[in-house]
Amino acid sequence: MISIRDLSVDLGDFTLKNANLDVVDGEYMVILGPTGAGKTVLLESIAGLYPIKHGQIWLRGKELTKLEPDKRRISIVYQDQALFPHLTVKENIIFGLKVKKAARCEIEKALEQMVNLLGIHSILHRCPATLSGGERQKVALARALCVQPDVLLLDEPLSALDPLTCEDVQNELHRLQRSLHITTLHVTHDFEEAIAIGDRIAVIGDGEVKQVGTPEEIFRQPNSEFVARFAMSRNIYPGVIENTDSGDCLFKTGKATFFVANKNNGATRATIRPENVLISLEPLYSSARNNFVGKISRIIDKGSTLYIAVDLPPEISALITRNSFSEMGLTVGMQVCVTFKASSVHVF
């Protein structure tokens, strides 16, 4: 297990205050945070490349805080892979073993294992400059894993790749991590990426760790407005909880009142995920308890899907597919019915 205790980093525009994070052995932890300097520094601090002024880092009961980077057994893969441009793919991969003066047969064995694991036999003698983005990423992974590190750090490993390659590498990462059971910290600003790949997600923002949980928890039960926004829930409302005599739990925000399923009396925020909001031309008669009528105020086109913002008031966004959008013939100013279940309202 790797533990980050009260870690503080101060970089001017990026600060991290007393960050605490525990990553279990073999876990794939995604650190999710907004774009900008900082997440890389966090990884570099863990790797020992960036001096730590406050806080401690422990790995399996041993303190690493003051240890030199070459003694930590923590490998890092940077966003642009940082392959050694003057060395061939093979020389890149065995670099770590070479500098540790490993025996030749040991190097050959480790190289073969990496080559088979990542399927990069055909590019072994090429120069990094001639490789595609996906190939570079595989080589960087092979180089990082060849030294059999205790922890693998990935700095935005997918964001420099085109969408197709990105999916490939993502699957590759997942497969590798599962087969090697290597503790992995993966930093990204991309929520979807985090959801797709992480065993758990740590959301950082405003210089602190906001929430740590499974993708499901982060997605369905954000504990703060920051996390909710990051999880791309557009519908976030301030308000108060009210319990009626008939046993209903209500959330009041402005003029609107939502039925809420889970009771959380201290809550001051409610969020409804846009994909849980239904739009219809006629009122629906269903078990869903929240039914409203409003005018479409905005339509945000995202390609295969669209966000339809309806002014109740307040404004609520629904996510619909392009097919439903054209079938229903929605336009701005049109009056529509809005429906969502009480259990879709998450209060916090």
Partner: protein, 289 residues
């Protein structure tokens, strides 16, 4: 968890984190035949002619026979060899002492770094005869370093060692600056990765930083060597004898006149030209890769 069909919502900047440099246009496309361009080209040609015409004329005006005679003149040959040799020693010393400093300046941040960078470039701006005088105040027979070196049998006044320190002083900024640029261009993350893979600071330097900065360091060495070879002012103050080629040119000119000085000057220029062309080729190939 497989139902997230929507794409990243607010973050438009994330789609291309690496800017596409190839699409950037090269140069001002609208600057073609206007009046301004004609004037600028004319002025540029003037200064270009000013540089090349004297050199070309001198080279072309000397007959090959006289040049050959001159080169086999033992006095001339000895002075040219001495020049190359002394400049080489200066370059080796500059390499040993300068490259580590260049690495520190490129890869670390500390208070007073700008001051040190300024100090390194000082020899470029001060008059070289003044530099020679300044060196004598340290390496002269009656001064601190002069005495210390004298104890191990090294003298500076009118000696090879004096020529070397004069050349070293005026030419080492070129090596340090070039090596510094070379180290600066090495992506820090490459060095970081090397460390995490188990390389010690020494190994990281010898296997990553140095090989990647190598081209700039070699270019710096050649530049320093060429600059050392062409030094006159500082050398003549410390060591008129043994005579290096630039001093010989000066002496021939003073005692026999223009026609006697010219062949030696031409040979000197040709040697410098060869070194210079090698340097440009090296830099050009570096830019291409």
């Amino acid at each position: 968890m497989g139902s997230f069909t929507f794409k990243r919502a607010e973050d438009n900047t994330s789609s291309s984190p690496v800017p596409d440099q190839k699409s950037a246009p090269k140069g001002l496309r609208w600057l073609h035949a206007g009046k301004m361009k004609i004037i600028f080209v004319f002025l540029g040609l003037l200064i270009l002619a000013f540089i090349t015409v004297p050199i070309l004329k001198m080279i072309l005006a000397s007959s090959p026979a006289i040049l050959l005679d001159t080169i086999f003149d033992s006095e001339v040959a000895a002075s040219i060899l001495l020049t190359l040799y002394a400049a080489l020693i200066a370059t080796v010393i500059g390499f040993i002492l300068g490259v580590p400093l260049a690495y520190l300046l490129a890869k670390t941040n500390f208070r007073g770094k700008r001051l040190i960078e300024g100090l390194i470039d000082l020899p470029i701006v001060i008059p070289h005869s003044a530099a020679g005088i300044a060196l004598l105040f340290v390496f002269g027979r009656n001064y601190f370093m002069g005495k210390a070196f004298n104890a191990v049998g090294i003298q500076f006044l009118d000696a090879l060692a004096g020529i070397v320190i004069a050349m070293l002083f005026v030419s080492v900024p070129f090596l340090i600056d070039s090596a510094k640029e070379g180290f600066r261009k090495v992506d820090t993350r490459l060095e970081n990765v090397a460390r995490t893979l188990g390389a010690s600071p020494w190994q990281t330097f010898t296997r990553i930083s140095f090989p990647l900065a190598w081209r700039s360091i070699v270019a710096g060495n050649i530049m320093m060597w060429a600059r050392g070879m062409s030094e006159f002012g500082a050398v003549i103050i410390i060591a008129y004898h043994p005579m290096i080629a630039p001093v010989l040119v000066y002496e021939k000119f003073e005692t026999y006149g223009l026609n006697y000085a010219r062949p030696i000057a031409v040979i000197l220029i040709l040697i410098c030209l060869v070194v210079f062309i090698v340097l440009r080729l090296l830099v050009y190939r570096g830019e291409k890769s």
